[in-house]
Symmetry: C2
Subunit: 622 residues, 2 copies
C-alpha cells in the first residue's frame, strides 16, 4: 500500500480517537482509553483490509468483524462514522436511552451481528462464523475479531482457539489489543507479548507480533494472514491504553472514564491530511442470501411411534433433527462430545456435513452456534447433557442480548438419570432457560411430542430450549397429534365440579408418575385431571385455569417436577395463577436436596417426586 494510504489510515485512526473522546465526554461515561489503544487496529481493518458495504453492513458477502472487547465500542462507532454510515450527531447520542448507540454493542444496530460486553466471547462467535464460511457457505468472506489482553484470561477464548485450529479456519484472524492494563490493575501478562504469541501458537494458530499503532505493520500482518493455509492467524498487537491522550496514555486508573475534552487538540494536530473519500473493497460474491423459510420447515416424515412403545425423548431428538436435516440444509447440529448420549449422532451418520463436533467445551459450542446462526446462514441446534448447559449460562445470556437464533437441547435431565449421580443431573436448567428473555422452553414427555418440539423449535426465531430425558418411557400421543407452542394437553380428567379434586401437572418422568397417581386417586374416590404442559415457557395459563375451575370449590393444583424448586414448574404455575381471581392453591413437589447415585425409581421415591408422594399430597390437601 502506498505511503499516502498509510498516512490516510493513520489520520482516520486519529479522527476516530477524537470521535471516541467526544462521544464519551458527551455521555459522561464509557471507554475512551480502551478505544484509543485500538484506533490504528480498527482503522486499518476498516480502511485497509476488510471488504464490506456501507449501505448494507450485514451483507452476506461482507467480511465479518466482531469487537470482542465490547467496552471499546466507541472506536467501532467512530469507524462507521468515518465510513459514512453514522453521522457525528448520531455517535454523540452514545448511551442515551433513545439511542441504539449503546454502552456495549448490540444487534439493535445494523452493523452488529452479536452482542459483546461480557468478555471472552468474541472469538467463539467468530469461530462459528468462520466455520460456516469455510464449510457451509464455502465462500471467501473472512472473519476478524478484536480481543483485549485482559479478556484473554477467560477460558472461553482458549476453547474457541482450540476449535478454530482443529477446524483449520484459515479464514479467521484474531487480533489481540495488548494494551497492558486491565480494569483494576495491569493484566497478568503485561506487555509480555511473546507469551501471548506462544499461547496462540500452542493452540494451533499462526502468530504474528506487531506494534499495534503502526499501520504499515498491521497491513503487512493482515496480508501475511491471507497467505496462511489450514491455520487461523493471531495478530498480537503491542499497544498503549489511552494512546495519544496526554497524561492518560499507559497510566493506571483510567479504565472506563471520560478524559478531558482538551485532549483532542493535540490529537487533531497529528492529522496530516483531509479526510479522503474512502474506496471500500466490495463484498465477495460467492455467497448468496437465502430465506430460512421459518414457519414452513418440516421433518421428512412425521413421528411414527405406536402408543405404549418405549422411547427416550433424547432419542426422539436425534431422530427428529435428522429428519429436519433431510429437508433443510441450513440445519446444523453441534454437540460437545456427548453425541452418542444426546442422539445428535444420528445427524452425523446421515448428514455428516450438517454436524459439528465441539468436543468438551460447552461455552464455545454455544458461542460458535450463535455465530453460525448470524445473517441467517444456518439454524444451529446444540446438544449436551442439560446439566452442562450451565457451563454456558453466560453465553446463553449474551445470546439473548444478541437476539440470537439458536436451539439448545439438554438431555439427561433430572434425578431420573440414576447412577451417574448429581454432577450429571440437570435440576436447574428450566430456571436457567426460563430466565432468558423471549425464550421458548419445551419439555416434551414422549417420543411423539419430542419430535414435534424439535420441529417447532426450528421454525421459531430466537432461543429455544428442549429438555429431554434419559429413560425410555411409553409413547402417549398418536403420530398425528397436533402440538403448538404454549399449548398444554389434558391427558386425564375426571373432575366433576363438586369441589373435591385436584389438577396434577407433571412433565417428563413426573408426568408418568402423575398418571399413576391419577389412577390411584381415582380408586380412592378423589377426582383429578392430569396436564402435560409440553411448553414450560410460555406457559398455558388458560388451560391450567380452565382445568382447575372444573374442580369447583377450593381448586387445587399439585405440580411435580424432576427439578429444584426455584424457577421450575411449580413456581411457573404458582406465578401464572397467582394474580387470577380464582384463588387456586398450588402445591409444589420438587427435588429438595442434592441427590445421589442410585436406580431412577428408587431416586424418585427417595427425593419425593414419585406417584406415592403425589397421592399422599393429594390426600392431605383435598
Amino acid at each position: 500500500m502506498a505511503t499516502d494510504q498509510i498516512s490516510q489510515i493513520g489520520d482516520a485512526a486519529n479522527r476516530m480517537r477524537i470521535s471516541a473522546i467526544d462521544m464519551t465526554c458527551a455521555s459522561k461515561s464509557g471507554h475512551p482509553t480502551s478505544s484509543a489503544s485500538a484506533a490504528e487496529i480498527v482503522a486499518t481493518l476498516f480502511f485497509g483490509e476488510m471488504r464490506y458495504s456501507v449501505e448494507h453492513p450485514r451483507h452476506v458477502g461482507a467480511d465479518r468483524f466482531i469487537l470482542s472487547k465490547g467496552h471499546a465500542c466507541p472506536i467501532l462507532y467512530a469507524a462507521w462514522e468515518e465510513a459514512g454510515l453514522l453521522t457525528r450527531e448520531q455517535t454523540l447520542t452514545l448511551r442515551k436511552i433513545d439511542s441504539d448507540i449503546e454502552g456495549h454493542p448490540t444487534p439493535r444496530l445494523n452493523f452488529i451481528d452479536v452482542a459483546t460486553g461480557s468478555l471472552g466471547q468474541g472469538l467463539g462467535y467468530a469461530a462459528g462464523m468462520a466455520y460456516v464460511g469455510k464449510y457451509v457457505d464455502k465462500a471467501s468472506y473472512r472473519v476478524y475479531t478484536l480481543l483485549g489482553d485482559g479478556e484473554s484470561s477467560e477460558g472461553a477464548v482458549w476453547e474457541a482457539a482450540a476449535f478454530s485450529a482443529h477446524y483449520k479456519l484459515d479464514n479467521l484472524v484474531a487480533i489481540v489489543d495488548v494494551n497492558r492494563l486491565g480494569q483494576s490493575e495491569a493484566a497478568p501478562l503485561g506487555h509480555n507479548i511473546e507469551m501471548f504469541a506462544d499461547r496462540f501458537r500452542a493452540f494451533g494458530f499462526h502468530s504474528i507480533v506487531v506494534d499495534g499503532h503502526d499501520v504499515a505493520a498491521l497491513l503487512k500482518a493482515f496480508a501475511e494472514a491471507k497467505t496462511i493455509k489450514n491455520k487461523p492467524t493471531a495478530i498480537l498487537c503491542k499497544t498503549f491504553k489511552g494512546k495519544g491522550i496526554k497524561d492518560v496514555e499507559d497510566q493506571d486508573n483510567w479504565h472506563g472514564k471520560p478524559v478531558a475534552a482538551e485532549a483532542v487538540k493535540e490529537i487533531q494536530a497529528r492529522i496530516k491530511g483531509d479526510k479522503p473519500k474512502w474506496n471500500i473493497p466490495s463484498v465477495v460474491t460467492d455467497v448468496k442470501e437465502h430465506d430460512l423459510k421459518l414457519g414452513s420447515i418440516k421433518m421428512s416424515s412425521p413421528p411414527s411411534y405406536k402408543l405404549g412403545d418405549k422411547i427416550a425423548t433424547r432419542q426422539a431428538y436425534g431422530t427428529a433433527l435428522t429428519k429436519l436435516a433431510d429437508t433443510c440444509k441450513q440445519i446444523l447440529a453441534f454437540d460437545a462430545d456427548t453425541k452418542n448420549s444426546t442422539f445428535s449422532i444420528e445427524v452425523l451418520k446421515k448428514h455428516p456435513e450438517q454436524f459439528v463436533e465441539c468436543f468438551i467445551a460447552e461455552q464455545n459450542m454455544v458461542s460458535a452456534a450463535i455465530g453460525a446462526g448470524c445473517r441467517d446462514r444456518t439454524i444451529p441446534f446444540c446438544s449436551t447433557f442439560a446439566a452442562f448447559f450451565t457451563r454456558a449460562a453466560d453465553q446463553i445470556r449474551m445470546g439473548a442480548i444478541s437476539f440470537a437464533n439458536v436451539k439448545l437441547c439438554g438431555s439427561h435431565a433430572g434425578i431420573s438419570i440414576g447412577e451417574d449421580g448429581p454432577s450429571q443431573m440437570a435440576l436447574e436448567d428450566l430456571a436457567l432457560f426460563r430466565t432468558v428473555p423471549n425464550s421458548v422452553v419445551f419439555y416434551p414427555s414422549d417420543g411423539t411430542s419430542a419430535e414435534r418440539a424439535v420441529e417447532l423449535a426450528a421454525n421459531i426465531r430466537g432461543i429455544v430450549f428442549i429438555r429431554t430425558g434419559r429413560p425410555a418411557l411409553p409413547v402417549l400421543y398418536e403420530p398425528n397429534e397436533h402440538f403448538e407452542v404454549g399449548k398444554a394437553k389434558v391427558l386425564k380428567n375426571t373432575l366433576d365440579g363438586k369441589g373435591k379434586g385436584v389438577v396434577l401437572i407433571g412433565s417428563g418422568v413426573t408426568l408418568y408418575e402423575a398418571l399413576k397417581a391419577h389412577d390411584e386417586l381415582n380408586s380412592a374416590g378423589i377426582k383429578s385431571a392430569v396436564i402435560d404442559l409440553f411448553t414450560i415457557k410460555p406457559i398455558d395459563t388458560n388451560t391450567i385455569l380452565e382445568t382447575a375451575r372444573a374442580i369447583g370449590e377450593n381448586p387445587q393444583i399439585i405440580t411435580i417436577e424432576d427439578h429444584y424448586q426455584a424457577g421450575g414448574i411449580g413456581e411457573a404455575v404458582a406465578s401464572a395463577v397467582s394474580s387470577s381471581n380464582d384463588k387456586i392453591r398450588v402445591h409444589s413437589i420438587f427435588v429438595k436436596d442434592v441427590p445421589r447415585s442410585g436406580p431412577p425409581d428408587a431416586l424418585l421415591d427417595m427425593f419425593g417426586i414419585s406417584a406415592k408422594h403425589i397421592v399422599a399430597k393429594a390426600k392431605s390437601t383435598v
Copy 2:
C-alpha cells in the same frame, strides 16, 4: 526408589484395575476404561509419592489429591481400598442408593474434598488449595490433580493454569492422563502429547512428558516436579484407555461401559508379588487444624451510617468485608479484575495478604475459592458484577454438590446500573442462586443491612449469595438494627383490616420505589405496607402472610424487582403463599424484555419497575 518398590506399585496398579473392573461389573455401569488408563498414575501417587493419613484422609497436613476426571472414580476408590481405608465389600457398593461410593466423587466420602464429574474443574480447585498452602498456611503440603485429555478442551482448565503460573504455585502438580479417546470419538489432540506440553509451557508451567504406564518414569517426574521453583508442573502422561483389558485397550466405543468380568484373569496374571504392607509417608506438620468459629465471627466495628446518608450496597460490602478481615484471618477476598467496582479493593488496601486477584476468569475464581475453603483453611468471599457469576454457573452448581463453604457477592445488579447496558446487568442472578440447593440469598437494600448480610454470610456454612447494587441510596436502618437470616422487615404499614389495601415487596432499588408508591397510594386513600425481604432465600413466608392478612378481605401483594420474572422475587413470593389457605393474590412487576443503555431512573420507568408503575398496578387491582 528400589526396583522391588516399583514392582510393588505396578502390582498395586493392577489390583486397582481389577477392583475397578469388579465394581463396575457389580454396578453394571461406570467407567472401567477411564480408570484403567490412570491405574499406574494413581498407584504411583498413592504408594510412591503422596504423604497422607489413612486414618484421617482429610488431615490438614496431608497432600491433596483431586480427581478432576471424576468419572474415573473407580480407580480412586480402588486406591483407598489398596491403602486399607475401604474394604472390597464397600467398593462393590459402587453406585448403589445406600452407598456413598457414588458414580462420581462427592465429599459424602471422607477422602473427597470437592465433587468432580463436570469436567475441567479440578485444576481450579487444586489451584485454590495450592494458593492457600503457599500463601496462607505457608505449609509444605503439596497438591496433585489428575485431568483427562478430553476435559482439557474446557476453558476453565486454562484459566486455572494461568492463575497457577501467575502465583508461582510450585506446590502444585497437574497430571494429564492423555488416553487419546473421548466419550464419542477421539479427543482433538489424540496422542499429540507434545502439543499438551507446549500448551502448559505457554501458560507458564514446567512440562514433563512421560509414559503414563511406566511407574519408574512417573516417580522420576514427581521427583523432578519437587525441584522446580516458582512454577507449577504439568506431567503429560501418554496412556491407553482400557489399558490392560483385552480387546478393549485403545478401542473406541468403550467409554462408560463395564467390560467382561473375565478380563481380570489376564490382569491378575501380571501381578508379580503379594500385596505389601504399605508404608505411607506421614502428613506434614507445619500446618495446624483451626476452628473457624462460625457463629461468632464479628466485624471490627458495627455499621456507622446515619439514616438518610447515601451509600451503595456494593460499597458497604467492601467496608464490611474489610472489618471482618480485621478480626478473622481466615477471611479471603477473591475478585475478577472488578475490585474497584465491587469495593473488595478495600480488603486489598488494608489486608493485602487476605486478597486474591483472579483477573478476568470468573470460573476459576469460583473453583479456586471453593478449593481455598476446603478443610476449613479459609472463608472465601468472591466478588464480581452479578451478571458475570453466570459465567461460573456450573462451578457454583458443583460447589453445591461439594457442600462448599463459599460466599459470592454480585454487584451492579439489574437495570439500575444504567448506561453500561444489558451485557453488564444481572437480571437472572436471583434465579441462579436460588436454584443452588441449601443456598442462602441476601438482597440488602441499604448500607446497614448490607454490612450485616456480609457478617451473617461469614458465619453460615455453605453457599451464600449477596446481591449488591451500583447506585448510592439512602440508609434505612439504624446501626444497631438487628438482622437475621430469613427475617424480613416491615418498613411501612397503614393497613387497617378493611380490605382495601396492598402489600408491596421490593428489594434494592425497587424497595425505594415501593416506599415512594406507598406515599402516593396513601395520598390516594389506598392503604399499603412495604416489606424489605432482606433474605430472598429462605423467604420469610410468615411475615409476608401476616402482613397480607392485615389487609382483611381480598388480600393482595405486589412484588417489584430489578430482575427478570423466572426464579425471581415474584415467583418466590407467589410460590411461598400459593399453598396457604389465605388465598392471597400476587401481582408481579419485573423487567420484561432485554433492557438497553440509559440513565437508571429513565430505565426503571421504561422497563416498568418504577413507583409510577407500582401505583398504577395497585390502583387497578385494589
